[in-house]
Amino acid sequence: MSNYMLIMRTVDEAAANQAMADAGIDFDKMIETMGRFNEELLAAGALVAAEGLDDAANGVVVDYSVTPPVVTDGPYGDTKELFNGYWIIDVATKEEAVAWALKVPAGVGVKTEIRRIPSIDEFPSDNEYIAREKEWRKELIRRQAEKLGA
């Protein structure tokens, strides 16, 4: 099994908004179709994590081309391809990840990129920081569980 990330971007916001309007899709309908998709992922035992992001216009960008790094208003340079949200799923093959991506309830102007997430076991296990990362990943899970239980 591998973890794959489905990265959602709206490449043409105007076209995407028009397509939603044409199809009569309002905010409630959007929440419902996303909810159904997420429920399907959950029932299949494939869902690891997912988040949506606030408007890119409210974001900032840190550029490391100069020292010290410079903070500017987002999004990235001249790219119009905004990153809007993601899912991390645990499936056996890339093909299976693609099969899930094809079911994302999205329309015109939207693309999803599928990338594998390397496991910590793919890094040198005798490296001090890799050993530490294994520990802090457990610590993060413990903290999340604590928060959810609180």
């Binding site: 990330m5 992001l53 974001g59 840190v62 693609v98 693309k111 997430i117 001090e128 999340q144 959810l148």
Partner: protein
Amino acid sequence: MSKFMLIMRATDEAVAAYAETDFAEVIAAMGAYNESMLKAGVMVGGDGLAPEAGLVVSFDQTPPVVSDGPYGETKELFNGFWILEVPTIEEAAEWAKRAPLTPGNRLEIRRVTGPEDFPADNEWVKKEEEWRANGYSPEA
């Protein structure tokens, strides 16, 4: 408190330069950075993405079409992310500035949406909250 996502992207040149950097050095710099955020209690999660090419699904047609990645003409690849929980975007930017990244790299900082962004009485919003509370377990 809000959650912010630090989205890492790099130009092809930056990726090439990174590949020539001593791997143990990269791991140590990233490790120390991650540890500082963990100790400050702001780290929620993070992952890096494999360098091999991904795939792209376009929803411009029905049914959607799968092609080789990355997205269209963009050369700014998405390489990994952190999610931090801090009170303001300014504080998230302060953390971002400390990331051990090289020229050609950028981090975009975006607020992660939470329950406050959605209608609380919506059936699917309620379900989502339950799923999260159960760590996305299919049995729950």
